[in-house]
């Protein structure tokens, strides 16, 4: 599963390729130009993004507009994800897996809040086989009853058992922030009632509504454009051009609120504010994330960001700041997990530190560090196969305009302490979304922390 923090980096990704040829030639360290980025094209009415680094392996993915935001009923996205690579009209699930194994390929299906991704990673020369396989999976899966009971249900139960307090708290923060759409849980917990909504027929209907030329994008990392246009056209011929039953999705609206869920085991607290969406020019958010920090990139050192200092003083808690960027909204979150008392102390200290940012006490050194981290996150996001893949696809299916990376870097560098102060003040004065999961006797209310809900 890709890390959520990657969503921030991918937001300004899809550039027109400038440096592919130059990169192939450069032999020594040159001025940093972004690695060859995804080229968006259209093949037979299907949006395609590809990038070729002439390596021996290819990653090919179908990114569909079928994330939890778009599901008409709870559980359909996870059901569709679990039904990927199961029996089709032409071959059985066993055959698909065995053939992929013989070719040395890897198949994966995962979803985010806005997209469902079916991914295949394989050796370069097997592109025709896996293109046919992905097309077959999205158009010809049978969605049989016995597979639903024998395989899909058990897989969903197994995945539900792994959901921890941190995931529940994040889902809770999203649900009070956005209500429907983006507020739907990323993975339903065992106590979420989905049995009446999830069955093989509703999943098949959802698949019909979602797998069509308008709502999918094919993303390839490591395949040439010529090869892709040659093989996508014949195999994706049967894909309908329009959905018979288009799913509507209202624009996201941030609301805010507080939710508290009792749970045994470790506790988690998520404090969320409205963040920056994909493609929105709000560099202050990225710098604020760098300032808050939490996860150090240096081993054995906790780092010296606001959250790192708080967790170093209170062992037993982990804290992280992220901006979850979606197509029309964003959520800036501070996620704290650990023992309930440590979580409480870290939360109190981090809100105090945020208030000191508002009071204007950001040192120059901290600002430089935060800007550097924001720049690194932005540029490194394009280099990872998994992360860049999903974002190139998500960008295509939502029709987002690719942002210029160099302009964003310039905008990041021009962020000052004053701008940060304004943004932080606006966040703290507005409504926050707080999700507390765990030992509620200890975990603070939002009001106790000084937040408005």
């Amino acid at each position: 599963m890709i890390s959520r923090s990657a969503l921030t980096r991918g937001s300004q990704l899809a550039l027109r390729s400038q440096g592919a040829a130059k990169l192939a030639q450069r032999g020594f360290a040159a001025v940093a130009s972004p690695k060859a980025s995804y080229e968006p094209t259209t093949v037979a009415g299907i949006k395609v993004a590809s990038r070729d680094d002439q390596g021996p392996t290819t990653h090919l993915a179908v990114v569909a507009k079928a994330g939890t935001r778009y599901e008409p009923l709870p559980g359909l996205t996870v059901g569709l994800e679990a039904f990927a690579f199961k029996n089709t009209k032409k071959r059985s699930a066993l055959r698909i897996v065995r053939e992929a194994e013989l070719l040395g390929g890897q198949l994966a299906a995962y979803h985010t809040r806005e997209a469902l991704v079916l991914q295949a990673s394989f050796l370069r020369e097997d592109l025709p086989y896996f293109t046919e396989l992905l097309a077959e999976v999205i158009t010809q899966t049978r969605y049989t009853t016995h597979e639903f009971h024998e395989e899909v249900e058990s897989v969903i139960h197994a995945k539900q058992a792994k959901i921890g307090a941190d995931a529940i708290a994040l889902d809770a923060a999203h649900s009070v922030a956005f209500h429907t759409g983006l507020g739907a849980p990323l993975y339903p917990t065992p106590s979420t009632p989905i049995a009446s909504y999830l069955n093989e027929n509703s999943v098949a209907q959802y698949a019909d509504a979602v797998y069509n030329r308008a709502d999918i994008a094919v993303v390839a990392d490591g395949a040439s454009e010529g090869a892709l246009s040659k093989w996508i056209e014949p195999f994706f011929k049967e894909l309908p051009s329009q959905s018979p039953d288009p799913l509507d999705s209202a624009a996201s609206k941030y609301r805010g609120g507080e939710v508290r869920i009792p749970k045994t085991g470790s506790s988690a607290l998520v404090i969320a504010f409205p963040g920056s969406a994909l493609g929105a020019s709000q560099p202050e958010t990225a710098v604020l994330i760098g300032l808050l920090g939490g996860e150090s990139g240096i081993k054995w050192s906790p780092g010296f960001t606001i959250l790192s200092k708080a967790t170093a003083a209170n062992p037993g808690a982990h804290a992280k700041a992220t901006n979850y960027a979606y197509s029309d909204a964003g959520l800036l979150t501070i996620e704290i997990t650990g023992s309930a008392s440590a979580v409480r102390k870290v939360a109190e200290e981090s809100i105090k530190a945020l208030k000191s940012v508002v009071d204007g006490s950001v040192s120059k050194e901290d600002l430089v560090k935060a800007i550097a981290k924001a720049k690194f996150d932005l540029l490194s996001g394009s280099e990872t196969a998994g992360v860049g893949l999903v974002h190139a696809g998500a960008n295509l299916i939502h029709g987002g305009k690719p942002l210029q990376v160099l302009e964003t870097i310039k905008a990041l560098e021009s962020v000052t302490a004053e701008k940060l102060k304004t943004v932080a003040k606006a966040l703290l004065d507005g409504k926050a979304s707080v999700g507390a999961v765990g030992d509620l006797h200890v975990l603070p209310f939002a009001e106790d922390l000084g937040l408005r809900v």
């Binding site: 059985s92 066993l94 055959r95 065995r98 013989l102 009853t145 016995h146």
Partner: protein, 121 residues
């Protein structure tokens, strides 16, 4: 060793042998106990058990009812009144297709397990 596949492929032969087949089925007598052909399939093996687990709930319930009724009749050495005998239109196979699918899956698994790779060079 069965002539059934040979005969099924030739519709004229099927039509010719139909009366003989009907006489055989009537003589077998399972319809007089309210059973259908697929109820007679021996369930003491894994394949059939798997196929039975895939039956829709209503079919499964009806099957169990018919078998219990037939067991009661067998114990009493009775048969059903003529009005309640299974009619030929009702005697369609419900388990056969599922069973064939399960058998095909097992055969495919066995074939894939004993696969040999022929190298091109």
């Amino acid at each position: 060793m069965s002539l059934a596949p040979f005969i099924s492929k030739r519709p004229w032969l099927v039509k010719m042998l139909q009366p003989l087949a009907q006489m055989y089925v009537n003589q077998a007598g399972y319809r007089k106990m309210g059973l259908r052909t697929d109820d007679l399939i021996s369930e003491e093996n894994e394949t059939v058990l798997k196929a039975l687990s895939r039956l829709p709930p209503r079919e499964s319930y009806d099957r169990i009812y018919r078998i219990r009724r037939a067991q009661q009749l067998s114990m009493q050495h009775k048969i059903l009144p003529k009005a309640e005998w299974t009619k030929p239109e009702e005697d369609v196979e419900y388990l056969g297709p599922i069973l064939r699918e399960v058998e095909a899956e097992e055969k495919e698994r066995a074939a894939l397990d004993t696969l040999t790779i022929a190298k091109k060079h």
